[in-house]
């Protein structure tokens, strides 16, 4: 294949595969597919099972992608889920793992939902961006572009109301975008903190099982370098949150002032017009 063929496939090809990746592993290549947009769904296509093997009905497809809602309903993972969707499914999995089961495959399933969230990124790829807000932001961008285009040829009263529309759209865009940015950072920090906590917990357990002849205080001493307080800087965390709040505050004030100004643009023009009546 030439590089342009690969580029074509990367852009157009949708490749559906099972999270067990066994068909691909059997073909060689460690289960990786080097081209196209690979969409992974949970489960196995049934390697060594002549009925399920290569079953084209295995992936539940809707339009030009996966039927994500169906996977969520069945508490299954698939590529292209947002962080919130993944957390929802992960929590359902953790809850299920807490109940008794006769299926030996499930006996070692984690009861901590974070484990599943961490696994998700490895097997199914990055989280999809949060749709509703980003969708709305795109709409604002379209509006802004449209109004600017109109403004080029508009004159008089029409131009004044267009200017007001433009300023209002920018104000709305600013406040929504800031919300998205701030929650993204908070989510990242929160997520890191939770992952670290469970990581430290796991290491502690390992240390205790390694040090069977040592006293608890000695093990604690050896672990003192690897506790939440020695690995996570709460001052930095606080600084991040304070600066986020400051950023948000600045832009919320901007958004408010600017939308007040948008109303004034029209009012002042009307008042000025009345001077000549």
């Amino acid at each position: 294949m030439t590089p342009s063929d690969i580029a074509y496939l990367n852009k157009r090809a949708r490749i559906y595969m099972a999270s067990s990746k066994d068909l691909r592993i059997a073909d060689g290549g460690a289960g990786n597919i080097p081209y196209g947009k690979v969409l992974v769904v949970e489960g196995t296509q049934g390697f060594n099972n002549p009925i399920g093997d290569h079953d084209t009905q295995f992936s539940k497809i809707k339009g030009n992608g996966l039927n994500i809602d169906l996977y969520i309903k069945n508490n299954k993972f698939c590529s292209g889920m947002t962080y919130d969707q993944v957390v929802k499914v992960a929590k359902a999995k953790a809850k299920k793992a807490k109940t008794m089961s006769f299926d030996p495959h499930s006996w070692f399933d984690s009861t901590d939902y974070q484990t599943y969230v961490d696994e998700y990124v490895k097997t199914y790829g990055a989280f999809a961006s949060e749709n509703p807000a980003n969708q709305k932001l795109k709409e604002f961008d379209v509006d802004i572009k449209y109004v600017k285009g109109e403004l080029k040829s508009a004159t008089g009263g029409k131009a004044i109301s267009l200017r007001s529309d433009l300023v209002k759209a920018v104000a709305q865009k600013a406040s929504l975008q800031v919300e998205v940015y701030v929650s993204e950072v908070k989510q990242l920090v929160d997520n890191e903190k939770t992952v670290l906590e469970s990581h430290i917990q796991a290491v502690r357990q390992q240390a205790y099982s390694l040090g069977r002849h040592l006293s608890a205080w000695e093990i604690e001493g050896l672990l003192s370098n690897f506790s939440m307080s020695s690995c996570w800087d709460t001052n930095i965390e606080a600084t991040i949150l304070t600066e986020l709040a400051a950023y948000q505050e600045k832009l919320v004030v901007f958004s408010e002032k600017v939308s007040a100004a948008a109303d004034k643009i029209v009012v002042i023009d009307k008042e000025n017009a009345q001077l000549f009546q």
Partner: protein, 98 residues
């Protein structure tokens, strides 16, 4: 003679226990070191993501919004809005993982 033997035995056992303890200490120290190192790598990744995000935020305030706003305000109002937006500081992006 028997007393002596028991002494020897006890000493041997104590030695054995000590050497077991020593091994366990080394194992736990190694466990901590390995995990501390992997945490450093994680911290660097977090740092990179936070920096990228902070730059995006600064760019949004200082560049995107002013250019969106162009044509909306005229004269002094336009300049004042631009100055205000440009002065919005970039948020801190240090990784809290030590």
């Amino acid at each position: 003679m028997q007393v002596l033997l028991r002494d020897e035995e006890e000493r041997a056992l104590a030695l054995l226990l000590e050497s077991q303890k020593a091994q366990e200490r080394v194992a736990i120290q190694a466990l901590v070191t390995i995990n501390k190192t992997s945490l450093q790598a994680r911290s660097t990744q977090v740092q990179t993501s936070l920096t990228k995000q902070a730059e995006k935020m600064k760019n949004f305030a200082g560049n995107t919004l002013p250019s969106d706003l162009e044509g909306g305000f005229k004269g002094r109002a336009a300049d004042a809005a631009k100055d205000y937006l440009f002065a919005v500081p970039q948020p801190d992006s240090t990784s809290p993982i030590k």
